[in-house]
Amino acid sequence: MTVETVGFWVVATVLLASSLAVVLTPNLFHAVLYLAAALVATGAIFLLLDQPFLFAVQLLLYAGGVVTIVVFAIMLTERLVGERIRQTSRHLINGAIVSAAVFAGIAGFLLRAPLAMPRPEQAGDATASIGRALVGPFAVTFELLGVLLVTALIGALYFARGEE
């Protein structure tokens, strides 16, 4: 049992448990906190895959940014006191059947695919390679991403603005 093997199983357990908690807990506010745990666990998976830069991005944008926005949205749309924040689920059986079928489909595909490839050695510094790729072959996409973020910012402001 290497450190990587133990780390993978620990992180996978945390990720699956918190993901289940996100979809099953009746309190929406708790669901967001479990989502933060799941996002950090996903970041740890990136760390296991030798991508420390993605881990940092995941923590900053997801666990920091998205969770904060969702918490704000819940506080603006729900009464924090009383039973309003408790929410029920519907079609539990149907949802379980559909998602189990989707998982069975993916698993059946994975079983037939030739995936037993060896893990290649990490070639150089991953972060430096990401930086070079972003201003090299992916420069146009990178710029388009900036346009998208500005558009999303303006769109969000437009939707959420107060009455004139």
Partner: protein
């Protein structure tokens, strides 16, 4: 040694859990949380393939999906807040204005 298939099975499980959340949650914010889980599973897949193929493209695409998801969440929650102002509810079942 953890192989590629372990990461892919883990991602598939998280994706299915997220799909379950999207299908069963009544609250629009809860549905968005399920979508977040599904997108995370996709990111795990991309990074795992990138690492095991020794190709950086998957990592770059993960960066792009993360940024696009953040933009999507910002716009989605702005829409949820705008809907709440008008209808005083974010229950997806009761937002049926477009139903014929």
């Amino acid at each position: 040694m953890i192989g590629l298939s372990s990461y892919l099975v883990l991602a598939a499980l998280v994706f299915s859990i997220g799909l379950f959340g999207v299908l069963t949650r009544r609250n629009a914010v809860g549905i968005l949380l399920g979508i977040e889980l599904m997108l995370n599973a996709v990111n795990i897949n991309l990074v795992a393939f990138a690492r095991f193929h020794g190709d950086l493209t998957g990592v770059i695409f993960t960066l792009f999906t993360i940024s696009i998801t953040v933009a999507e969440v910002a716009v989605g929650l702005a829409i949820v807040i705008a809907i709440f102002r008008v209808r005083r509810t974010v229950e997806a079942d009761r937002l049926d204005l477009l139903r014929g």
